[in-house]
Amino acid sequence: MRILVIEDDRETASYLVKAMGEAGHVADSAFDGEEGLERAKAEDYDVLVIDRMLPKRDGLSVISELRGAGNRTPVLILSALGQVDDRVTGLRAGGDDYLPKPYAFSELLARVEVLGRRSAPKEAETVYRVADLELDRLARKVKRGGEPIMLQPREFRLLEYLMKNAGTVVTRTMLLEKVWDYHFDPQTNVIDVHMSRLRAKIDKGFERPLLHTVRGSGYVMREDV
């Protein structure tokens, strides 16, 4: 995946570029809004990571400019402003996701990877498959190895999101945001309990588990490596 990081703090930028490289991506960096806009326009990236407060040209205006020019590259906004209302402003400006600082790199990476996959036409598929697990989005039915599995509506949406992003790590915060539409951090780790319930329904009694916990990051749905 080709990623452009527009971040004025050089240390953070070089850390992100290096860490993304280690995760198997190719990342470039730009240190101010003008330079970032130039590069984003000139080259073809899969994801842009843009800090909201940048010298010369602020992050939101870079995004509006790109969107105005017809550039649809997914954008992840980074910001020290983490309140609900700030996020809404960021997304309205044309951002696709919003991550408040300070963030864990694993969270950033997971979000970037999910954004990058958007290009793949997953949205159009009506049936998601991971190994012998099958989810029919229209009939709202789930089967594993041909056997139907009964899921609550919320569990269905949870599984749907995990399978849509199969192979990619999704964090607890992402699940809360996408499945529950909550942008706060519940004090108790409610997501883990939901996940263990879901796991009991889809993995229990099967030899190969599909739902894996990634320590320090979140969860991933994939055939065992």
Binding site: Q83, V84, V88, P100, F184, V193, R197, G216
Partner: protein, 469 residues
């Protein structure tokens, strides 16, 4: 009144207003009096003219009856009567032959005037005195004898004098009254403004408890004082909140920071192998995450307390929000062996910040699930939504140990945790946030005894009340 106060008195709004009103009323009074005077004078003049005409006609009749000699006799007779008109009869040569008038301007006799005219004359009774004014008509008989009949107009002049005097008197009276009103108003108003300025200055200087005096008369100043007092109370609360936040940061953020630092230091000095370091680093990251979480919660509370523009408010079904939160916590409750139940109800519309209300409700449910197990019976948490007097009420009730009445006020403060052992996770910010969210919406958080357990009631304005929020 101090010497300094005088020039200030002239700069006041009260002074300007008084001056304007004074000017307006003076013009108005002058117009009114002038108008009346003028009309009266016109009426008098026309009455006089009629009288002169009538007199002249009767003189003509007398002349027709007895000629000039008879005329002279009649004129002499009439002149002698009290309140007589003015008469002046001349022979064809223009010499005076009868009448009570000594002299008149010669020109008036040479022209036979049809309309009455004002001329000056001197009376026969008081020779050598000032000439008077009179309204006269002259008639010339065919034999050249001329007769002038007139009425003295001093009556009219007296009226003009009366009007002038009353005008001046009125003006003087108005100026005097205006001055009194101005002094009264400006001194009274200035006194209250001074007191407002003084209280504000004391507030600025740091005395946050000072409030403006409300006299209880319900006038504009009272209303102003009341709104300013409400503002001062809010400022005081924000200031206290800010102070509390910094105190809390000092106390409750420094402790975990110290712990984190110690752990890293110990890992550096005593760690021997990679697993040691890894373990220490993982623990450090966990602790840092917890710190960030605490920090975010503090910021969120501060932000909610400071108030957010109502543009981010939505109208939504409160029951829906509650159902979602219950749905989120249901597995956690089940794992903890707590029966979590939502009392189904019809939609209850609220106008609020949906995200913040969800979070507040999540905090209440989180607490209830955490502490329900401490009671004696089967742990149970019941969540209900209802509409009461146009307000939306979220009720989260558990049957745990509850909170002693004395502690209920305290638990909504930041970082307050009742269990000294701190065996349950959490930073002690949950209820502070709920309380801040309630405040942001102009609602309230009430903690009641559920006998046994605790019932937390979050009251928010309903959709119908959105204007009042």
């Amino acid at each position: 009144m101090s010497s300094r106060a005088w020039p200030r008195l002239f700069r006041t709004t009260a002074f300007k207003l008084t001056a304007i009103f004074l000017a307006v009323f003076t013009v108005f009074a002058a117009f009114l009096i002038g108008y009346i005077a003028r009309n009266t004078s016109d009426i008098l003049k026309s009455q006089m003219a009629d009288a002169v005409d009538a007199e002249l006609q009767s003189i003509e009749l007398q002349y027709d009856r007895g000629g000039a000699a008879w005329l002279v006799r009649v004129v002499e007779l009439r002149s002698a009567q009290p309140g007589a008109s003015l008469y002046f009869v001349t022979d064809p040569a223009g010499d005076r032959i009868a009448g009570n008038v000594e002299t008149v301007p010669a020109s008036i006799l040479n022209e036979s005037v049809d309309a009455p005219k004002i001329v000056s004359y001197t009376s026969r009774d008081e020779k050598g005195s000032q000439p008077h004014s009179a309204l006269v008509r002259v008639f010339e008989f065919p034999d050249g004898v001329r007769v002038l009949v007139g009425r003295d107009v001093s009556e009219r002049e007296a009226l003009v004098g009366l009007v002038r005097r009353s005008l001046m008197l009125t003006a003087a009276l108005m100026v005097a009254l205006g001055l009194i009103a101005w002094t009264f108003v400006s001194r009274r108003v200035l006194k209250r403004i001074d007191s407002i300025a003084e209280t504000s200055n004391r507030f600025v200087a740091g005395d946050l408890s000072g409030r403006l005096e409300v006299t209880g008369t319900g006038d504009e100043f009272d209303r102003l004082a009341e709104s300013l007092n409400a503002m001062l109370t809010r400022i005081e609360r924000l200031m206290l909140g800010l102070k509390q936040v910094s105190d809390n940061i000092a106390h409750d953020l420094k402790t975990p920071l110290t712990r984190m630092r110690n752990r890293v230091e110990r890992a550096l000095t005593t760690g021997h192998s990679e697993p040691d370091y890894r373990e220490a680093l993982h623990a450090t990251i966990d602790e840092a995450d917890q710190l960030i979480r605490t920090f975010n919660a503090l910021l969120l509370i501060a932000r909610a307390e400071a108030g957010s523009p109502d543009t981010e408010f939505d109208t939504f079904d409160a029951a829906d929000v509650a159902r979602d939160v219950v749905d989120l916590y249901e597995p956690v409750a089940e794992e903890a062996g707590v029966a979590l139940r939502f009392e189904e109800c019809a939609p209850v519309m609220a106008h609020a910040h949906r995200e913040l209300v969800s979070q507040a409700l999540a905090n209440l449910v989180d607490n209830a699930v955490k502490y329900a197990g401490e009671g004696s019976g089967t742990p149970e948490v019941v969540i209900g939504v209802s509409e009461k007097d146009g307000a939306v009420e979220f009720r989260v009730a558990d049957n745990g140990a509850g909170i002693a009445e004395a502690d209920r006020g305290r638990v909504t403060e930041r970082f307050v945790r009742l269990e000294e052992s701190r065996s349950k996770p959490g930073a002690g910010l949950g209820l502070s946030l709920v309380s801040a969210v309630a405040q942001l919406h102009g609602g309230e958080l009430q903690l009641c005894d559920n006998a046994p357990g605790l019932a937390a009631i979050l009251r928010l304005p309903g959709a119908a009340q959105q204007g009042a929020a």
